[in-house]
């Protein structure tokens, strides 16, 4: 193991290298670009030994990975915002074809107008594509999650999108433990050395089906998704055994009997935690790492407790006409339960920076009874 001061994007590149990825298709987009630049440097230096292909668009970046995964190769690409949206049809296709791809997304706002700030609507708009989705809270977690993602994807035959805040994490340097290749090989099996298909047994892969077959296939995928919770917990425990780092699907931090809970995802969790420790507050934090499948049971366990009086849902995205998307999912998870706490939303759509000052002001607004607090009005 070595410790290095690296950015979130560089952490992705290290994880891709350590995972012995066989095909990387590269196309730049802010704020993801330095993932692909770092991988290019590793490739040029002979540290990354797979195929590295410069493509002409995000559309090709993902379809290239789909082709590589058809062959049976371990493949990776990365994107952000409009790049991810441009891939949309293929994001569906990769999940339908049960390909164990891993893609990272440095979250960025969707235009118009142009905005490169860290709104999460890009990946949240891919919610229903059938990919597993994780949101990371720090640079170390990004590296570890990409490695976990390859193993998980290959075990459940479902692609994984690893998301993290653009700039706040993609470009922030943190001290990161980079596991040795030997350590990783204890956890992640080597990639295939033989094609998945056999020339002697021709098959018509992913061709036309009728509604009955389609429905059956979707049910199979639905059940595979349901297995992800247990599988992920098991892999996380195993990974923690090797690296001493653990990332539960939903993480609770703070006093056990907290009356007020903050609920959020991604790097904002770090800010909220440090806000707690600097102000000795009595609130607790529930951080959602796994967004698809959505960990309903964990959410209910932490949120639907009799001592909880108020939940503050912090989102850096907004679904027009509804509210924050994580908030929406949490509300759905709690639907039908009686005696629910009061729910308030703090919304940072557009990629606003969550600062301790902003949190203090937001808490005052909560005291005043506001239910939908737009952070931009508190600046």
């Amino acid at each position: 193991m070595e410790q290095k001061i690296i950015t979130g994007n560089q952490a992705v590149a290290h994880a891709v290298r350590l995972s012995k990825t066989q095909v990387v298709s590269a196309y730049p987009i802010t704020p993801q670009t330095t993932v692909m630049e770092t991988l290019a440097e590793m490739w040029a230096a002979g540290e990354y030994t797979g195929e590295y292909v410069n493509v002409e668009s995000e559309y090709t970046a993902l379809s290239y990975c789909i082709g590589a995964a058809y062959a049976g190769a371990r493949a990776f690409t990365a994107s952000s915002a409009h790049g991810l949206a441009y891939m949309h049809e293929l994001i569906h296709w990769a999940a339908g074809a049960r390909l164990p791809l891993v893609m990272t997304n440095a979250n960025r706002a969707m235009g118009a107008p142009w905005c490169i700030e860290s709104d999460q609507l890009d990946s949240l708009s891919q919610r229903d594509t059938g990919w597993i989705q994780f949101y990371c809270a720090n640079v170390q977690e990004i590296l570890d999650t990409v490695i976990l993602a390859f193993r998980l994807a290959e075990e459940v035959h479902t692609p994984v999108m690893v998301c993290y805040d653009g700039f706040y994490l993609s470009h922030t340097y943190e001290a990161v433990n980079i596991p040795s290749p030997e350590v990783i090989s204890q956890f992640l099996p080597n990639p295939r050395t033989q094609a998945l298909f056999d020339l002697q047994t021709p098959t018509n892969h992913h061709g036309l089906v009728g509604s009955e077959a389609m429905s059956q296939l979707m049910q199979v995928r639905f059940k595979a998704m349901a297995r992800v919770f247990d599988r992920y917990n098991l892999l996380n425990t195993q990974y923690a055994g090797i690296t001493r780092r653990s990332y539960p699907a939903v993480e609770y931090s703070g006093p056990e009997n907290a009356k007020t809970l903050f609920v959020t995802a991604g790097g904002m969790a770090q800010t909220i935690k440090s806000f707690f420790s600097s102000t000795e507050r009595e609130e607790a934090l529930v951080r959602i790492k796994m967004f698809r499948p959505f960990p309903m049971e964990d959410i209910r366990r932490y949120l639907a407790q009799s001592h909880v009086e108020r939940i503050i849902l912090v989102d850096r995205n907004v679904c027009m006409g509804v509210g924050g998307i994580f908030a929406q999912e949490v509300r759905a998870a709690l639907a039908g339960l009686s005696g629910l706490p009061e729910m308030v939303e703090l919304n940072l759509a557009g990629g606003l920076d969550l600062t301790p000052e902003l949190l203090s002001k937001a808490l005052l607004a909560v005291q005043e009874g506001e239910k939908m607090i737009w952070a931009v009005n508190l600046l």
Binding site: E51, V53, A195, F197, L199, G207
Partner: protein
């Protein structure tokens, strides 16, 4: 071979192996199915097809049925070249450098929605064979105009009198501009030529492109027994010359002494039924010019065909 009957000569030259099962769902007389059947005979068993949205999405069979005695991977419409390239690169990463990856796309998946990915794959000189079977419109969705539809043609989205005003895009010129090792035209009336070209392409590394003109009975408004004849007429009138481009060198494979008038080709097709005499002379003039330009820059190698 001199004294043997012509038919026998032709069949002796065509491999007996079949990689397309009979009973598939192409329209009767579909020359695209016939062309690809012959192409697979040259390509052989160590071939994987990547098929984008086109008539072959249907022809290759609704699961659990299949038409091809080869592995087929389907892919979204604009992604033919990139999915094929990724598959080839994935195989290479696992040490398999011999399996041929062959991409199959219609004119829509080549000239239009697939052009960006195709151009990029050609520029990277990806080690794949890209086949465009060109039936000159979006036939799988019911004969809508594409940029491969010729001037003056009717289609479901260019009904008379609003027939297509623009000439057909010259895809071979676009492909040539990428300086790839091999590009060829072919059509089913010349099966020996088609087979020889696929056999040659198999031995070449890098990006190889085939433009196959495929007369389509429902789309062109002709009878199902007319496709081979139209395929031959397309060559004899200079509408669709047969040639190869190898590292920039152009070889004309079939060189008629004089071109037949284009009216012979257009006349029997209902899609051209609203052409005026003036339109036809305009088309003739365009063909005369492009044929002369092709002659000027090519070597000629005449080929005997049955």
């Amino acid at each position: 071979m001199g004294g043997e009957p012509l038919m026998k000569q032709v069949f002796n030259d065509i491999p007996q192996e079949e990689y397309m099962l009979s009973g598939h769902t192409a329209c009767p007389g579909c020359s695209a199915a016939l062309s690809i059947r012959h192409a697979t005979k040259a390509l052989g068993k160590e071939t994987v097809f990547v098929i984008t949205a086109c008539c072959f999405s249907i022809i290759s069979g609704q699961l659990p049925l299949r038409t091809f005695e080869l592995n087929v991977f389907h892919c979204p419409f604009p992604s033919a070249a990139s999915t094929g390239s990724g598959l080839k690169r994935g195989l290479a990463a696992m040490g398999d450098t011999t399996t041929q990856v062959v991409v199959l796309a219609g004119d829509g998946g080549t000239f239009d929605i697939g052009l960006q990915g195709l151009s990029a794959a050609a520029e990277r000189n990806e080690d794949i064979i890209f086949i465009c079977y060109d039936n000159e419109a979006y036939m799988n969705t019911g004969m809508q105009r594409s940029s491969a539809t010729p001037f003056g043609s009717k289609s479901a989205t260019s009904p008379a009198p609003k027939v297509k005003e623009n000439p057909k895009k010259d895809i071979m010129k676009i492909i040539e501009a990428h300086a790839i090792p091999y590009a060829a035209t072919a059509t089913v009336a010349y099966p020996k030529d088609l087979l020889a070209k696929f056999q040659k392409a198999k031995t070449i590394k890098g990006f190889r492109f085939f433009h196959i003109l495929c007369p389509c009975p429902p789309g062109w408004g002709v009878e199902s027994d007319q496709t081979v004849e139209l395929s031959r007429l397309a060559v004899e009138t200079g509408v669709f010359p047969l040639y190869e481009v190898e590292n920039g060198e152009v070889t004309l494979n079939v060189t008629p002494q004089t071109l037949r008038p284009v009216a012979d080709y257009l006349g029997s097709q209902r899609r051209f039924s609203t052409l005026s005499a003036e339109d036809i002379s305009k088309i003739q003039a365009t063909i005369d010019r492009s044929w002369q330009a092709l002659l000027n820059r090519s070597n000629t190698a005449e080929i005997q065909e049955g």
